[in-house]
Subunit: 336 residues, 2 copies
């Protein structure tokens, strides 16, 4: 800015006013300054900006998954892609960090806050009994919880969520209509909020219909556990006729395991994946899956966070309920 001021023959303050659209300089001076700045390829130093109270122009995202459980995943990159799209427009940076566990993640938030490194954070994989909302509220760090249930207890936190309960109800509806009475839900990690929500809803829906042979089993989302649980339940005395998997990886692995045991999909057992991706179309038959727009999910979350950072008030935004794409893996119960 010193250089620009010199070239344009004005003071640094005038340059600042001109470039930030503040009053205090004439239009001709403003234009001149802008041209010089352009020509010199000037960009404000984020450090200096941050130091003079403008915030860090950065939001944070930490992913707390141990490195070894990091498998094939399409959701996360798509989510980030959507987030980026919105952040890039506003020239906001995304600081990304991986953590070993939630405690580690909290430490990262604390550090970021103390270092004034981020203006806000995006929180993923909300849990039941999650310490993060409390912490972020305490720190006064604007945050958007992605995938969590609406949270009225924390006034600084926005929430972006899909109605898992509604989706689960519609899946059960569909399977029930096809004649399925014995359903097993191969769920994800036990501590996650949406896992518990789906399990609860499934139980409620089953109760409403008087279905007694419906259960949920939690896993670590891996193909190995997905296959193992599938084998276990199919080898039981009264095998289920429908399997609902909480992600695509387990669904594919589970379908393969079922085939190995001699169960034909969908004649003997129907399979539904709670995540749609290319994976679901790599096996025969193609898997029926709940599809959602993960990129748009990311966009929405980022938009909420920027609103919050700009001083807006927190709110809960609902994204469309995932839609069931019927493919070849679901059908009427044999003999029904």
């Amino acid at each position: 800015m010193k250089d620009i001021a010199r070239h344009a023959g004005v003071s640094q303050s005038a340059v600042s006013f001109a470039l930030n659209g503040r009053p205090g300089v004439s239009d001709v001076t403003r234009d001149r300054v802008r041209r010089v700045a352009e020509q010199l390829g000037w960009r404000p130093s984020t450090a200096a900006r941050a130091l003079s109270g403008e915030g860090a122009a950065t939001v944070g995202l930490v992913l707390a998954r141990p490195a070894d459980t990091l498998g094939v995943d399409s959701f996360f990159l798509q989510l980030v892609s959507g987030i980026q799209e919105v952040l890039a427009e506003r020239h906001l940076g995304l600081l990304f960090q991986m953590a070993e566990d939630i405690a580690d993640e909290c430490a990262v938030y604390r550090r970021w806050w103390a270092e004034h490194r981020v203006d806000g954070v995006l929180v993923v994989d909300p849990r039941t009994d999650d310490p993060r909302p409390d912490l972020l509220d305490e720190l006064g760090l604007p945050a958007v919880v992605i995938g969590g249930p609406p949270d009225e207890r924390h006034l600084g936190l926005s929430t972006v969520w899909a109605d898992d309960a509604g989706a689960m109800a519609s899946v059960v509806d569909g399977l029930h209509a096809l004649g399925h009475r014995r359903i097993v839900h191969i769920a994800g990690l036990p501590g996650l909020a949406h896992t518990e929500r789906r399990i609860r809803t499934l139980r409620a829906e089953a109760g409403r219909r008087g279905l007694t042979e419906v259960e949920s089993v939690t896993t670590d989302y891996s193909d190995a556990e997905g296959a193992a649980v599938t084998r276990r339940v199919l080898e039981g005395p009264t095998p289920p006729t429908a399997l609902i998997y909480d992600n695509d990886v387990m669904a594919v692995a589970g379908a393969a395991a079922a085939a190995e045991l001699g169960f034909s999909v969908p004649a003997d057992v129907s399979v539904v994946s709670w995540e749609d991706s290319a994976l679901c179309r790599m096996v025969k038959p193609w898997l029926s899956a709940l599809s959602r727009d993960s990129v748009e999910f990311g966009r929405t979350a980022a938009r909420e966070l920027t609103a919050l950072v700009d001083g807006g008030s927190a709110r809960a935004v609902r994204v469309p309920v995932p839609r069931l794409i019927e493919r070849g893996s679901t059908g009427v119960v044999r003999g029904a």
Copy 2:
């Protein structure tokens, strides 16, 4: 620091000396200051640090892939996981950005550089005729090219690479020993450096053995193109007996396509995937794959970048050649 100074009864300078291990304060004072800092939960403001010449304590990574070609991927997250591990130790942040294309990516580097936002960058997906090394050299931004060939032309750039040529040679060796003479290589994106390297090596190896029915076909890495190319070559007059896929997604899709056409794997056609992941064990038979330690790859790259940022000189580091894991998808040629 003002608060700490007040609490400890010394000047701000003394606090700075004490906390940064500089001489100029007695040991007792140093301890006292440190205790106070600890108690107050002090962390240096990155903005202020950066402003006073310490660098941004951040490195950048931009991924230039259009959002819609973002498919199932295990490599990238693992790479980032390794990168993080090293960066986190040194309390360096990772600024992540997605870009539409290489030009966009270059613009991001320019902006980051002008804004003093990063101390260095990690460059992925190097291309033949890549504009990025020139740009980064010109900007004087320390950089590590991940997966590129050693580059002596740019003195500020380190390179971390695996010997694709060696790996390709060993794969061809293996297939040749099994009796394969007609091999098709379903390659990745045409502009990428490693794609071209593998293609060149395959041609050279074929030439050395007098194999005339060996070819490479470039794709966009998607399951759709992987399957399409597979169908096309298998339906030709003299179908190949071995297929080498540049990633796991195409390998799986290709194997499925082959099966649909009535080709049995590996009796009629052998399949090798140039990327190992859970995917390769989700299909029957399990796919033989080239396995590499992507996490370690990331660690190495991050280590090189930190060395460079610390003022070290550029160099080319070779990571181990990917190893072929023989599973059920490769075998002797029928009738051999």
